[in-house]
């Protein structure tokens, strides 16, 4: 056994790990889009099951919003590959030890079921055989919602299942953050199109508030865990807490304002939630890559016990 504890010296200050070669805008953007689309499909499905014919507009918007992941999301992912022309190799195998494998298959499944649901919605809107298309859409939306739920959260396990200290230190909190951020952004996005501040709009706003509170709690919990693991990233932590609190605060404020001006302000509030969600993803990537490059952080994280 090596003598004693680590005395803190590093190998000439050289990094001991390699950071993930992900472009933080492309991959951060994809995580945001995947969360938004997956949660949008989930919320559209829940609304359809609960409110049925009464809220066809919201359901329609949710189903179309879910098309972002199969289109822009997939393009972001393929663009980030080292050899993009071999993107289809992602479907050679299915590995439960690799969240990237799980996610690639989830994305394919989600793309197929969501595209089917959106297409059926589109056909139903054209007026002919409406009842049939609507019924079929109600069937395809179920697996789409399930896969959408996976899309919201698998990205957190993708980051946690690495040796990067910042991501590996607090897997539970990161997962809760990602899941709640996805639901918050979808709820905020869907409430924008609601004509009046009654019924569905208010319900979606309440859900967004609940999700944002969960996200803030998870953000603070993650910082506690990460600090105890010896990773000190105070500016990043401050930025995270402030942005989560700000999104929650501003969104809540926009709901409390008088009804006459509330439409524009509620749209602004939703935009802030979406921007905050995107910024959070990019920041998680940046903070992780930075922690991998710091040998003192990594080596202290890899001590026994």
């Amino acid at each position: 056994m090596p003598e004693g504890n680590w005395d803190g010296t590093t190998y000439y200050g050289r990094p001991q790990l390699k950071p993930a070669p992900f472009n933080k805008w492309l991959v951060g953007g994809y995580v945001f889009i995947a969360g938004l689309s997956g949660a949008a499909q989930l919320l559209a499905t829940l609304t359809d099951l609960r409110r049925g014919r009464a809220e066809t507009n919201a359901v329609r918007r949710g189903r179309y919003l879910a098309m972002l992941a199969p289109t822009i999301g997939a393009v972001c992912l393929i663009a980030d590959l080292g050899t993009p022309q071999r993107f289809y190799n992602m479907l050679r195998v299915f590995k439960t030890t690799s969240p990237m494998s799980i996610g690639s298959w989830a994305l394919v499944g989600f793309s197929i079921t969501s595209t089917a649901t959106a297409a059926l919605q589109c056909m139903a809107d054209r007026g002919r055989l409406t009842a049939w298309f609507r019924a079929l859409a109600r069937v395809t939306q179920i697996p789409a919602a399930g896969l959408g739920a996976v899309l919201c959260t698998y990205t957190a396990s993708l980051f946690s299942a690495t040796s990067t200290p910042r991501w590996a230190a607090a897997p539970f909190s990161l997962a809760v953050r990602y899941a709640s951020a996805a639901v918050a952004s979808a709820a905020a996005a869907l409430s924008v199109g609601e004509p009046r501040r009654a019924s569905l709009g208010r319900d979606l706003d309440s859900l967004a508030i609940a999700a944002l509170v969960t996200e803030l709690a998870a953000t603070m919990a993650e910082q506690q865990t990460v600090q105890r693991a010896g990773i000190d990233d105070s500016w990043s932590n401050l930025a995270d807490t402030v942005s989560a609190a700000l999104a929650l605060g501003l969104f809540a404020t926009s709901l409390l304002l008088p009804r006459q001006r509330s439409r524009l302000l509620s749209a602004a509030g939703s935009a802030i939630v979406l921007a905050g969600s995107f910024a959070m993803r990019v920041n998680v990537l940046r903070a992780g890559q930075r922690s991998a490059q710091q040998p003192n952080v990594r080596l202290s994280f890899a001590q026994r016990g």
Binding site: P2, R86, N89
Partner: protein, 295 residues
């Protein structure tokens, strides 16, 4: 067709002149598919000649990278990368203080390489199946499958594998897979002049290593220990053992190695469970908010 003489010379002989089962002569081990092979690197024998780095570059036709001097003792290679699969570490460790002890003086020299872990995190992370376990129990990247997603890079707890910016695919030590198939031991092990890098079957190497550690302890080098054997540093957190393991005489961090790395795949299920539970909880909240209204 007129080819320059040197060119004809270079590509003229396809394996004529190779002794069958050459590894029996050079390493004392016959290479049989189905057995587990690896390296035992005894850093107390390393003289820092870097023959291993050169042999690896020559055999694998790798370009030189990390150009320029680092100023970090004799280590101008810096680190393992997509084009550097063997890297010798140098630490000048109070050279004059330790002159009395047998073996090395104060120098710490170690030839770093891919550890070919038993539960390789890079292999477990790879979504295309490019990284696979060979018939010699080594970990190799299939260059015709890899699409350069780069997920293996943060997964590796030792910072070994890297994606090349030139060809957009991941590269690392193959334990000379092509040489093993031809009955030859890996290039680095063959070229090591002091037999610091020993190639053989993993279980036999571990026995040899334990004997060597006991001998060193007996000779007064009390700080000698094995890194990467079961239940030792470097093979913690679910990695089981490393097929390429080391005999070190100082703390692992001095050689830029982690003391207690963990197997990243152990975090997949807990993270997914936490995330899906959160979604479920928020979905239940959503259902209650969305309860049908009267009128």
């Amino acid at each position: 067709m007129d080819m320059p003489l040197r060119a004809a010379d270079l590509c003229g002989n396809d394996l004529d002149g190779v002794i069958p089962n050459e590894s029996e002569l050079t390493a004392g081990v016959r290479i049989v598919p189905g057995r587990s092979y690896g390296f035992f690197t005894d850093t107390t024998l390393c003289i820092g000649c870097k023959a291993c780095e050169v042999a690896c570059k020559e055999w694998n036709n790798l370009p030189a990278d990390h150009l320029g001097l680092t100023g970090d003792s004799y280590d101008n290679t810096g680190a393992l990368s997509a084009n550097t699969w063997r890297h010798v570490n140098f630490v000048e460790h109070g050279v004059r203080d330790d002159c009395g002890t047998p073996g090395q003086s104060g120098w710490l020299m170690m030839s770093d390489v891919c550890k070919h872990c038993h539960n390789a995190p890079c292999l477990e992370a790879c979504p295309t199946g490019a990284l696979f376990r060979t018939e010699f129990d080594t970990v190799v990247v299939q260059q015709d499958v890899c699409n350069g997603c780069g997920y293996c890079v943060p997964a590796c707890p030792f910072g070994v594998i890297d994606v090349s910016t030139l060809d957009g695919k991941a590269h690392k030590c193959t334990l000379c897979y092509d040489r093993l198939k031809g009955g030859l031991e890996p290039a680095c092990a063959k070229s090591c002049p002091t037999n610091s890098i020993q190639f053989g079957e993993v279980t036999e190497l571990q026995q040899r290593a334990r004997t060597r550690v006991n001998a060193l302890h007996g000779a007064g080098v009390k700080t000698a220990y094995l890194y990467g054997v079961p239940d030792g540093p470097g093979a913690t957190g679910g990695l089981e053992h490393l097929n390429a393991f080391f005999l070190l005489t100082a703390q692992p961090e001095s050689y830029n190695l982690p003391r207690a790395p963990t197997r990243p795949a152990n975090r997949v299920a807990p993270s997914l469970a936490a995330g899906l539970t959160t979604i479920a909880a928020l979905a239940i909240a959503a259902l209650s908010f969305l309860a049908p209204r009267k009128g």
